[in-house]
């Protein structure tokens, strides 16, 4: 105490020690004049320590807190320091008074409300959190007052009406509806307003009855049963009703936490599952569509469980394998392991039929047996997986379970979404049929070509028949010459002085004539050669010359003037020499025969070179071709000659077209027929 006036003497101050609250009297300067034990209890200082001290020094300068003046009486809260340095919130009431010694002073009572305030704050925060949660939840939340229903049930029990609530509720639907009417909505969150209401929250603060359709009463009843039988919560899918009367599918959850149930409060959450149900229905339909598609597809489909295989591959990766191909080279048994880990899970009808089974289970299991013929395809498939491809396809062979080997296109898809769940889909497009058809087609082609060749041969032979007289005539000339020469030679030798010179000359002539006869025979033999075409590079000019030479007797007999203008050095064509000769013999022969009644018959054969083609024209000055016949000219069995077989031009066209060429016919302006043959140049670029 420092120069302060002694504390005034207060009568009955011991009484104040019986008061629980703190009582402090100060003078006008805030010096403590009276200090009770309650003050010591709160602030810590003893009476002796406090008396004569200024409160600002005791409680701290920064005493904060609102103080509300009410005339002379002040009350409010202040944060004050205790002797222990702690801060305490004090609820204060103060009054200006006159001290016993006449000075002005102040008396205050104080209560430590720190704890209470903290508790309050906590509660408020908790409330706040709860409120936030309540509001913020995307689900619709309801706070319901169940108390009146509790009362109803109590009455019921008292009346001895029930053993089994569930049974009672089932038999008394009107009771259930009444319970609903007695269940009051205390509060709802925004989502509830959105889901059930039409923008007005107050509309919903009614009973719960409007929100329960008749058909859903049993769910409400069941939730009541759950709450009264001590369950902590109850949930069910049901139908609920909006304030506007429309209904929807909902997931209803009621919570009955024990401490709130006493007060009759329960919390209900509602989730609109219309979307979810729709999604499930969609999924179901999707599933069905997939199932249908899978099973109806006319190609063989397999659903394969590759989860074990994927695990194997993952294992390799963790072991540090980078190059699967190299790994499989070093560990050849891995392929077999991989195959047997790949299991056939499901197959469609087409697959069952194609692979020789009777039902799906025949094909299920390890896929090893399907790859007996061509395991290399499976290996490449593994490599594709390893690379992370989502698709693989290869033409290959697979093995049916009945021993047949199937040629076809194998495709497998393993998109990430399916891969993650270890599923892949295989398809196998059977091309065995196709391959067989192709093979049959090729065989057919070959047979056809052979028949064509036979026809060409027959045509040549028949032409030879037609030319037989001509040929005989031609051969007879050298034969006759040989005969005469050998007779002459004998005579020369039999003379007294044999003329050796003459004989020598004769022998030469005989040799020449023999060669000539042999040539003619040779050409005839060529024409009679059997059918197999033998391709080689052919010089057009030579083929034309040979043809004309072959017909020389006919030509001379008819007195036909033949002009051949085929330049030297034309590129060669790839053809069967005999067949090409046949073409020109046929055309020339037709021309000669056509000109039988022509005064100065003239046959012209000319050739030119165009890019990639040689063009040969064969023309005559005969009567030409009747317009009506032009379109049918090259048809089989078409002939203008009596008794003609009509094969010649058809075969000519076949021969020309079989080496990639073409032939057309028309009448010349100046009279006579013109045939234009186009033959592709042989690409090696040889010339002749």
């Amino acid at each position: 105490m420092h120069g302060v006036s002694p504390p005034p003497d207060f009568p009955d101050s011991e009484l104040l020690d019986l008061v629980i609250d703190s009582v402090v009297v100060t003078d006008a300067n805030g010096v403590v004049a009276l200090w009770n034990s309650g003050s010591q209890a709160i602030y810590g200082w003893t009476r002796d320590e406090a008396l004569g001290r200024e409160t600002s020094k005791l409680f701290g300068q920064d005493s904060t807190g609102p103080v509300t003046p009410q005339g002379n009486d002040w009350h409010g809260e202040q944060w004050r320091q205790t002797s222990g340095g702690k801060r305490r919130l004090i609820e204060l009431q103060r009054r200006n008074v006159q001290l016993p010694d006449g000075r002005q002073g102040c008396i205050e009572t104080g209560r430590d409300i720190t704890a209470a305030r903290e508790a309050e704050d906590e509660l408020r925060k908790s409330e706040h959190r709860y409120r936030n949660l309540f509001q913020a939840m995307a689900a619709s939340f309801w706070e319901l007052d169940f108390f009146p229903v509790g009362k109803m049930l109590y009455q019921l029990r008292k009346a001895g009406e029930i053993e089994d609530y569930a049974d009672y509720f089932a038999r008394h639907p009107e009771f259930v509806r009444e319970m609903m009417r007695q269940t009051r909505v205390v509060d709802v969150n925004d989502q509830t307003v959105k889901l059930f209401g039409r923008g007005n929250k107050d509309e919903l603060l009614t009973s719960v009855e409007p929100f329960w359709p008749e058909a859903a009463s049993d769910v409400y009843a069941a939730s009541v049963v759950a709450s009264v039988t001590g369950k902590l919560n109850y949930s069910a899918e049901t139908r609920l009703r909006r304030i506007d009367g429309s209904e929807f599918d909902a997931l209803f959850t009621a919570c009955f936490p024990p401490d709130t149930l006493n007060k009759g409060t329960l919390l209900v959450g509602v989730i609109d599952i219309t979307e979810r149900n729709r999604a499930f229905a969609e999924l179901g339909r999707s599933e069905n569509r997939y199932r249908n598609l899978f099973h109806q597809m006319p190609i063989a489909l397999w659903q394969v469980d590759s989860s074990r295989l994927l695990a194997l591959l993952a294992e390799l990766r963790t072991k540090g394998v980078r190059n699967l191909s190299a790994y499989m080279d070093d560990h050849p048994e891995f392929l077999a392991t991989a195959m047997s880990s790949t299991r056939v899970a499901e197959v469609n009808r087409s697959a069952i039929d194609l692979f020789g089974g009777k039902e799906a289970s025949d094909l299920a299991g390890s896929s090893t047996r399907y790859w007996k013929s061509n395991p290399a395809t499976f290996r490449r498939l593994l490599e594709a997986r390893w690379r992370g491809d989502s698709y693989f396809e290869e033409e290959t062979r697979m093995n049916a379970i009945d021993g047949r080997v199937l040629d076809g296109l194998f495709t497998i898809a393993f998109p990430p979404a399916l891969n993650e769940i270890g599923i892949s889909i295989n398809a196998f497009v059977d091309m065995s049929e196709q391959k067989r058809s192709l093979a049959a087609l090729r065989e057919s082609e070959t047979r056809f070509q052979r028949i064509q060749a036979e026809f060409a041969h027959a045509s040549r032979v028949s032409m030879l028949g037609e030319l037989a007289a001509s040929i005989a005539h031609e051969v007879n000339q050298p034969l006759a010459a040989i005969s005469a020469s050998s007779a002459a030679g004998l005579r020369w030798l039999l003379r007294e002085e044999p003329d050796i010179g003459e004989v020598k000359a004769l022998m030469h002539r005989i040799a020449n004539d023999t060669r000539r006869a042999a040539d003619i025979i040779g050409r005839v033999r060529d024409m009679a050669l059997p059918a197999e075409p033998r391709y080689s590079t052919v010089v057009i000019g030579e083929a034309v010359q040979d043809a004309v030479h072959f017909l020389q007797h006919e030509i001379r007999r008819q007195g036909v003037n033949v002009s051949i203008s085929i330049p030297e050095g034309l590129p060669v064509v790839m053809a069967d020499r005999i067949q090409l000769q046949q073409v020109f013999v046929n055309l020339a022969m037709n021309a000669v025969q056509a000109m039988a009644s022509t005064d100065r018959p003239r046959l012209e054969i000319a050739g030119t070179c165009k890019p990639e083609n040689i063009v040969v024209s064969v023309s005559d000055n005969g009567p030409g071709i009747a317009e009506a016949n032009l379109p049918k000219l090259f048809d089989s069995f078409f002939s203008t000659r009596q008794g003609g077989m009509g094969m010649g031009l058809a075969i000519v066209r076949n021969i020309v077209e079989s080496i990639g060429g073409s032939i057309v016919a028309r009448n010349r302006g100046e009279g006579g027929a013109l045939f234009i043959i186009r033959l592709p140049v042989h690409s090696s670029g040889q010339t002749g």
């Binding site: 007289a469 005989a472 005539h473 031609e474 007879n476 000339q477 050298p478 034969l479 006759a480 010459a481 040989i482 005969s483 005469a484 020469s485 050998s486 007779a487 002459a488 030679g489 005579r491 020369w492 003459e502 000359a505 004769l506 002539r509 020449n512 004539d513 000539r516 001379r556 007999r557 007195g559």
Partner: protein, 119 residues
Amino acid sequence: MSAGSLIAIIDDDSSFRVAIEGLVRSLGHRALCFSSAEDFLNSSKRPDCIVTDIQMPGLSGIELKQELDSRGDTVPVIITTARTEPALIAKARQSGAHCVLQKPFESETFIKCLDGALE
């Protein structure tokens, strides 16, 4: 057997022509060769015998005989041919040729014909 007669040989086929010429000369005769009837007629030669083919460009052997007939030339004609048509052979015979020989023929046959024609 007449030696040294002049024989005209008419045939467009050169090897036959030359061969017959050789044969004729080996028999001791002289031969003149022509490749066509026209050539012969234009040559104004008077052989002792003509050996001619039927089928030639221009006048045929038969037509040559007919021409000679119309000129009153009675030189004997031997017709040779490689043709086989019976109608043609008959026609050749009817033309008044001394012989009609079908190629190829035995040389003895020809020699006999030639001897007969030269008598």
